[in-house]
């Protein structure tokens, strides 16, 4: 068994057959994909890569699997029925799915584009990075690896992508396993990235007691008296660790992932790539995908910034020379109550006044559901986390609506917004210029 040092999990251990996945071209490429895109321009030490994140996800997913499938941690007969090996037989099934889970955790990010999520929209219609991951997992280069590991690549795809991104039919068991990797609440992907991003950025917001949380995770019927469908939940003793994870996510969104300067760099990067890439899109052929990493894009960006004849010159300069647009508006709660989309009104007003090239808008609301998961109490009941926790229903839903302008018009634009803010929000200014204003059809 091999081992790799890791600042988050101390050691990540792997079998020789798994080392072949790690050694593949597609996996080695992840050494050159920044986990947090251009965040290092704001938090200089946030230069970690998807490579170590994927190793970390394999480590966390394995720990979760070992806890939730341990017969001592299974409290309901209906759950014991569907976990391979939980009733004493089918040890092979138990080992098989552990191996599939580890492979899927390793491979879940293989399709990520340069600079991770920042460039996601620059794929042809119908393509997302998950589909590229699927193409790689199912491709010729990986075929002998799966044979040696004795796993079905379709099973790896299901667990790596999860139900949301995969059209295949899932059993309840496969659904639970995919949630161990990409689940919205307790996924190993999320646990690892919060801890790792926090560590590398030099902020503490993403830390939580993951040892305690993992140790208390359980597969439970989602309700005691209602549906018996199984889901991933937690023992009562781990509820506070789960709360800490979900608050950590919120704080990481507000303090790191959606830092206003970080976000405008993402927008500038996307604009640069649209001009710089042939046809304005990334290729979807596996070989071309593997050949393109942050390194190639960064080299191209530096060259374009230095040479005015290069495509994307002005856009590259915004990033390389730190001439990024500046935030001049952020939605406030008082304005929210007066208009459905105050940020759009401000954006439209500024565009009508200063022109589209000078103004950018960042409008985002977090995705995913509420933090409702089953909790196994000391009395042996199953209760909704939101009914038991005094804080989970109070975790805010993260949402931003910001407007940025170029440095050249910043002062004038700030004065204009200050002077006209009330009229803009109430719709007296700017609405006639709105291209997609709210209307009933």
């Amino acid at each position: 068994m091999g081992e790799i040092r890791d600042p988050i999990h101390v050691f990540v251990r792997f079998e020789p057959s798994e080392e072949k996945i790690i050694g593949s071209r597609a996996f080695q490429r992840l050494r050159y994909i920044h986990q947090l895109a251009l965040t290092y321009l704001v938090y200089p030490s946030a230069t970690h890569r998807r490579f170590e994140h994927c190793l970390g996800v394999m480590e966390v997913a394995s720990r979760i699997y070992d806890v939730v499938t341990n017969p001592e941690n299974i409290h309901h007969e209906s759950i014991r029925e569907f976990i391979p090996g939980a009733k004493g037989g089918d040890k092979l099934g138990h080992a098989y799915w552990r191996q599939v889970l580890r492979c899927a955790a390793l491979c879940h990010d293989l399709g990520h584009l340069p600079f991770s999520h920042a460039a996601e929209d620059l794929l042809p219609e119908g393509w997302k990075h998950e589909r590229l991951s699927q193409e790689i997992i199912m491709g010729k280069e990986f075929e002998p690896l799966w044979k040696e590991l004795k796993v079905q690549p379709e099973d790896v795809v299901k667990l790596a992508l999860g139900k949301k991104k995969c059209n295949l039919e899932f059993s309840d068991w496969e659904t639970i396993l995919s949630e161990i990797i990409v689940g919205d609440v307790f996924g190993a992907d999320r646990m690892d990235y919060l801890l790792r991003d926090s560590y590398h950025a030099g902020v503490s917001y993403g830390r939580f007691d993951h040892y305690r949380l993992i140790d208390t995770l359980r597969i439970l019927p989602v309700s005691q008296k209602d549906s018996q469908e199984p889901g991933l939940g937690v023992e009562r003793g781990g509820l506070e660790s789960a709360e800490a994870l979900l608050w950590a996510r919120y704080f990481m969104y507000t303090q790191l992932y959606f830092h206003p300067t970080r976000r405008i760099y993402d927008i500038h990067l996307m604009e640069f790539l649209k001009e710089w890439l042939p046809g304005g899109q990334f290729p979807t052929e596996v070989d071309k995908h593997i050949d393109c990493s942050d390194n190639e894009v960064t080299a191209g960006m530096r060259k374009a910034a230095a040479d005015s004849s290069e495509p994307g010159h002005a856009l590259a300069k915004r990033i390389i020379s730190r001439e990024h647009f500046r935030q001049i508006y952020e939605r406030s709660s008082s304005e929210e109550l007066r208009a459905l989309e105050p940020g759009k009104r401000v954006y439209d007003g500024l565009v009508s006044q200063f022109g589209k090239d000078e103004v950018r808008r960042d409008d985002y609301t977090q995705t995913g559901g509420s933090y409702d998961f089953p909790v196994y109490t000391k009395a042996g009941d199953i209760v909704s986390s939101l009914a038991l926790s005094p804080t989970l229903s109070k975790v805010p839903t993260f949402s931003v609506d910001r407007v940025y302008v170029s440095v050249a018009i910043r002062d004038e634009a700030e004065r204009w917004v200050e002077k006209n803010r009330d009229q803009i929000i109430t719709g007296a200014i700017g609405e006639e210029h709105s291209s997609g204003k709210l209307s009933e059809s």
Partner: protein, 187 residues
């Protein structure tokens, strides 16, 4: 359909479900929206797959989260089950902006709410999955068996009752939908 317009329909669905006695949590909203879009033909652009408790849309889940972020809905925890969704501080603003949209779809929203309002999550799970099989796998010879293969924790008598109930709801809905014959099948 634009996001705020869709939100106005979902907000009305939430209100009508609660009037009909529903818990109106996220699962109730998911299954009722499935009936509203797929059976009643109120096209909201949600893509439903079989997932948590039957037909489920990740886009709809995100839309409900968006509505909470915007103040159109809020969570109200209820022991020991999952929380109820109720109108938020900006719900009236949304309803005023989309009065015509709400009026246009109100009859269908009320029909779905009346049919599903008193159902538990377990009942919604089997009824909605039975409708999913009927609409997406019309060639399925034994929908009861198919339902039980998809949801092994559902007992045979409950699966049979769900399939029969969906047939009845489909018949009852035919006068409200344009493209369906008496059996509720398109064409």
């Amino acid at each position: 359909m634009e996001s705020f317009q869709r939100a106005s329909i979902l907000l009305t669905l939430n209100e009508e479900l609660r009037k009909a006695g529903s818990w109106a949590g996220e699962t109730h909203m998911q299954k009722a929206a499935f009936f509203l879009q797929e059976l009643m033909e109120v096209t909201m652009g949600f893509d439903f797959i079989l997932y948590k408790h039957g037909p489920f849309s990740f886009d709809l889940r995100d839309e409900l989260t968006f509505m909470r972020a915007q103040g159109f809905l809020r969570l109200e925890p209820q022991y020991p089950y999952g929380p109820t969704l109720v109108g938020g501080e900006k719900s009236e603003l949304l309803k005023q902006a989309f009065r015509q949209t709400i009026e246009k779809h109100l009859t269908k929203i009320r029909f779905v709410s009346q049919k599903l309002g008193t159902k538990t999550v377990a009942e919604l799970e089997r009824t909605a999955t039975a409708l999913y099989i009927r609409l997406r796998e019309p060639a399925e010879a034994d929908p009861v068996e198919r339902l039980r293969s998809l949801k092994p924790h559902i007992a045979l008598p409950e699966a049979q009752a769900a399939v029969l109930e969906v047939q009845q709801i489909t018949r009852d809905s035919s006068s409200l939908t344009a493209s369906k014959g008496p059996l509720g099948l398109a064409g």
